[in-house]
C-alpha cells in the first residue's frame, strides 16, 4: 500500500504546476490545460483521503467523478470562448484580449 503522503506530495506538485501554468502562460489553451491540472490535483486528493480514511465508503471517489463531469462542461464552455476569441482577434494570446477595463 502506498502511503498517503506520496499521494499528497504528488497532488501538491500537480497543483503548483497548474498554478504556475495559469500565471505564467499567455496562451489561452495552455492556461485551460493548467486549470485542468489543478482540478485533477484536487481530485487526486479526494480519492487518496477517501481510501485512507474509510476504504469501504466511496464518498471521495464520487466527488472525483463530479469534478471530472464539471470540468468537462467547463472546458467545453471555455474552449468555445477561446474559439470566439480566435475568430475575432486571430490570436489565442490572453494579453491581446484586454479591452474589458476602465
Amino acid at each position: 500500500m502506498v502511503p498517503l503522503e506520496n499521494y499528497l506530495v504528488l497532488s501538491a506538485v500537480m497543483f503548483s504546476l497548474g498554478v504556475y501554468g495559469v500565471l505564467a502562460r499567455r496562451n489561452a489553451v495552455l492556461i485551460l490545460m493548467s486549470v485542468e491540472l489543478m482540478l485533477n490535483a484536487v481530485s487526486l486528493n479526494f480519492v487518496a483521503f477517501a481510501a485512507y480514511l474509510d476504504p469501504d465508503k466511496v464518498l471521495g471517489a464520487i466527488f472525483a467523478v463530479f469534478i471530472i463531469t464539471v470540468a468537462a462542461a467547463e472546458v467545453g464552455l471555455a474552449l468555445a470562448i477561446v474559439i470566439r476569441l480566435f475568430r475575432n482577434r486571430a490570436t489565442s494570446n490572453v494579453d491581446e484580449a484586454a479591452s474589458m477595463k476602465w
Binding site: L23, I31, D95
Partner: protein
C-alpha cells in the same frame, strides 16, 4: 334606545357627510335636505337621550358605554367610549339646536353659491365631530375630534378659497390653534404618563387620590389649558377668530360663536377637578379670562365691520366663561355657554341676514336705518343685542349676573371690577352696532334701496333663536327646571361630583349692579351714536389719538406676531436653511457622492483587463488567506 346609544347623534351626520361628499354634486339641490334631515334626527334623538338620562335610576349618574379599541401587550389597554353626564347633555342641546337652525338658515343664505353641496357636507362633518367631542370619555378621542372640528373650521373659513384673504384667514386659524393643540397633546400625554390611562374619569379619580405631584400636575394642566386657549381664542391666541369671519356667515354663527370655540370651555369644565387640585391653575384660568374679556372689549369698540364686532364680543364672552370656570363653577360657565350660544348665533345669523340682503355689505359705515326695511331681522337682532348687553329678563342677564356672584365669592372685588368694566364695554359696542346698523338714516342710499327682508327660511331660525335668547335664561330657576323634568335649575343639574348641587338664588343687589353695567354701556353708546351722528365719537377719537390708534389697531397684536414671524421665525429659518444647504446637502449628500466618485476614479486603474493580473490576484489572495488561517489557528 337610551342614553347608551348617544353615539348615534354623531354617527348620523357623519354618514350623511360621506354621502354628500361623494355624491352631493349629483344630488338635486346639492343634497341640502339630507343635511337638514341628519341634523334634525340628531336633534330629535337628543330628546330621546335626555328623557332616558333623566329617567336613569340613581339620578344624574353618568351613562357610560365603551368598547375595547386596541390592546397592546399586558399593560396597554385602550378603550374608547361615550360618557354622558349633565355637561354633555347641555352641550348636546346647544350643538344640535344651533346646528339645526344654522342648517336651515344656510339653505337661504348659501343659495346659488358655488360648492353648495360641499358646504353642507362639511357642516355635517363638523356637527358629527363636535358631538363626538362632547361625549368622548377619554382624552385621546377628545383630541381626535378636537382636530376634526379644527379641520372643519379650516375648510369652512377657507370656503371662498378664490379670495386670498379667505385662504390666509383659514391658514392663520389653523396654525394659531395648532400652537395650542401641541400643548394639549403634551398635556394629555403627561396625564397619561402619570396615571396610565386616557379615560377622563379615571384620571380625575387618580389625581384626586393624590397620585400626581403638584408641579407635574400643574404643568400638565397648563399644557391642556394652552389647547383650550387656542381653541377658544383667548388672549394671546385670539387673533385668529376675527379673521375667521372670512367664512360664510352661518359658519361664523355655528362654529366661531356657538360651538367649536366653546370646546375649550367645555374641556376645561370637564377637567376642572384637575384644575382644582393643581395649585394656582384656577387663578391662571381666571386671569386669562379677565384679560381676554377686557382687551377684546376695547378692540370691539373701534371696529366698523359688523361681523368683526361680533367676533371680538364672542372672544370676550368666552373670557367670561373662563372667569366662571376660574371661580370653580362649571355650572355657571356652562349656563353662560348655553345662553351665549343662542343669542350669539342669533346675532350672527341676523348679521348674515343683513349681509345677504345688502348684497355682501358688512361695513357699518354704509348701513343704517335698516329696521324699517327688515323688521324681523331688526327686531330679533335687537333682542339678541339686549341679551348680549345683559339686560333683564333676557338670557344673557341671568348667566352674566351669576358669573359676577361666583367671581366675587372666589376672588373678590379686584376681579369683579375688571369684569364689570368689560361688561360695560360689551353693552356699549353692542348698542353701537345696533344703532349704526338698524337705526338712524341710511348712509348709503344705493345699498339701502336694494335691501329687502330675507325669506322665511332665514327669518324662521332667527325667530326661534330670538325666542331662546329670551327664555333660555330662565332655566336657572329651580321651579322652571323642575317643571321641565330636571332636578332643579341648571346649576343644580350640572355640578362637580364632590361639590354637590349649587342652588341658585336671586340676589337683588347683584342684579341691580348688573343692570347698571348694561344700562351704562347702553346709554353711553346711545348718547354717542344716536341720530346718525358720529360727531361725539370722532371728537373722542381726536382727543385721545394715541389710545384710539391703539384700540383701532387691536393693540398691535397682529403686527407684533408678524414682526415675530418676520424677524425670529424667518431668521431661524435662514439658519436652518443654511445648515440644510451647506451641511446636509453639500457636505452630507453631495460629499459622500464625491468621495465615492473620487475613490472610483483612483481605484478603476486596478481593472487592467489583463487575465494574468487577475489570476495573480486570486492566487495571492488564496495564499494570503491560507497564511492567515494558519496563523489564526496557531
Amino acid at each position: 334606545m337610551g342614553a347608551e346609544e348617544a353615539w348615534l347623534l354623531a354617527a348620523i351626520p357623519a354618514g350623511v357627510f360621506l354621502v354628500l361628499a361623494l355624491f352631493g354634486r349629483a344630488l338635486p339641490r346639492g343634497g341640502d335636505y339630507l343635511g337638514v334631515a341628519a341634523i334634525l334626527s340628531s336633534f330629535l334623538l337628543f330628546f330621546v337621550v335626555l328623557v332616558d338620562f333623566l329617567d336613569t335610576p340613581g339620578k344624574l349618574g353618568p351613562v357610560v358605554n365603551d368598547i375595547e379599541w386596541s390592546s397592546i401587550g399586558e399593560n396597554f389597554d385602550l378603550r374608547m367610549g361615550i360618557y354622558v353626564d349633565p355637561i354633555t347633555i347641555v352641550m348636546f342641546a346647544v350643538v344640535t339646536t344651533v346646528a339645526l337652525m344654522v342648517n336651515i338658515f344656510s339653505i337661504g343664505y348659501m343659495k346659488g353659491e358655488p360648492r353648495y353641496y360641499w358646504f353642507f357636507a362639511v357642516l355635517q362633518l363638523f356637527v358629527a365631530s363636535m358631538l363626538l367631542l362632547v361625549m368622548a370619555d377619554n382624552l385621546l378621542l377628545v383630541y381626535i375630534s378636537w382636530e376634526l372640528v379644527g379641520v372643519c373650521s379650516f375648510l369652512l373659513i377657507g370656503f371662498y378659497w378664490e379670495k386670498r384673504s379667505a385662504t390666509e384667514a383659514a391658514k392663520k386659524a389653523f396654525v394659531t390653534t395648532r400652537i395650542g393643540d401641541v400643548g394639549l397633546l403634551i398635556g394629555i400625554l403627561m396625564l397619561w404618563k402619570a396615571t396610565g390611562t386616557f379615560n377622563i374619569q379615571e384620571i380625575i379619580h387618580h389625581v384626586e387620590e393624590g397620585g400626581v405631584g403638584q408641579n407635574y400636575l400643574f404643568a400638565a394642566v397648563a399644557f391642556v389649558f394652552l389647547g383650550c386657549m387656542g381653541k377658544s381664542a383667548q388672549v394671546p391666541f385670539h387673533v385668529w377668530l376675527p379673521d375667521a369671519m372670512e367664512g360664510p356667515t352661518p359658519v361664523s354663527a355655528l362654529i366661531h360663536a356657538a360651538t367649536m370655540v366653546v370646546a375649550g370651555v367645555y374641556l376645561t369644565a370637564r377637567l376642572l377637578p384637575l384644575f382644582e387640585v393643581a395649585d394656582g391653575a384656577l387663578l391662571m384660568v381666571t386671569i386669562v379670562g379677565l384679560t381676554t374679556a377686557l382687551l377684546t372689549g376695547f378692540m370691539a369698540l373701534a371696529q366698523t365691520d359688523i361681523k368683526k364686532v361680533l367676533a371680538y364680543s364672542t372672544v370676550g364672552q368666552l373670557g367670561f366663561m373662563f372667569v366662571a370656570l376660574g371661580a370653580g363653577h362649571p355650572a355657571v360657565a356652562m349656563f353662560h355657554l348655553m345662553t351665549h350660544a343662542f343669542f350669539k348665533a342669533l346675532l350672527f345669523l341676523g348679521s348674515g341676514s343683513v349681509i345677504h340682503a345688502t348684497h355682501h355689505n358688512q361695513e357699518m359705515d354704509k348701513l343704517g336705518g335698516l329696521w324699517k326695511k327688515m323688521p324681523i331681522t331688526g327686531t330679533t337682532f335687537f333682542i339678541g343685542s339686549l341679551a348680549l348687553a345683559g339686560l333683564p329678563p333676557l338670557a344673557g342677564f341671568w348667566s352674566k349676573d351669576e358669573i359676577f356672584v361666583v367671581l366675587n365669592d372666589k376672588w373678590g372685588a379686584w376681579a369683579v371690577v375688571i369684569l364689570a368694566f368689560a361688561a360695560v364695554m360689551t353693552a356699549f359696542y353692542t348698542t353701537r352696532l345696533f344703532i349704526r346698523t338698524f337705526m338712524g338714516t341710511p348712509r348709503d342710499k344705493d345699498v339701502h334701496d336694494h335691501t329687502e327682508e330675507s325669506g322665511l327660511v332665514m327669518t324662521g331660525p332667527l325667530m326661534f333663536l330670538a325666542f331662546l335668547a329670551v327664555v333660555s335664561g330662565f332655566v336657572v330657576f329651580h321651579g322652571v327646571g323642575k317643571a321641565l323634568g330636571f332636578p332643579g335649575g341648571i346649576t343644580e343639574f350640572i355640578f362637580l361630583p364632590h361639590h354637590g348641587p349649587h342652588k341658585y338664588h336671586f340676589d337683588l343687589a347683584w342684579a341691580a349692579a348688573s343692570v347698571a353695567m348694561g344700562a351704562t354701556g347702553l346709554l353711553l353708546a346711545g348718547w354717542m351714536y344716536w341720530g346718525n351722528s358720529t360727531k361725539r365719537s370722532t371728537q373722542l377719537a381726536e382727543a385721545q389719538p394715541g389710545l384710539y390708534d391703539l384700540i383701532r389697531n387691536k393693540f398691535y397684536f397682529d403686527e407684533l406676531y408678524q414682526a415675530g414671524i418676520d424677524r425670529g421665525m424667518l431668521g431661524f429659518s435662514y439658519v436652518v436653511s443654511w445648515f440644510d444647504r451647506y451641511v446636509v446637502n453639500d457636505t452630507g449628500v453631495d460629499g459622500s457622492a464625491q468621495v465615492t466618485g473620487f475613490s472610483g476614479g483612483v481605484l478603476k486603474y486596478l481593472q487592467t483587463g489583463r487575465l494574468p493580473n487577475y489570476a495573480m490576484a486570486v492566487a495571492v489572495g488564496v495564499v494570503a488567506l491560507a497564511v492567515v488561517g494558519l496563523v489564526v489557528r496557531g
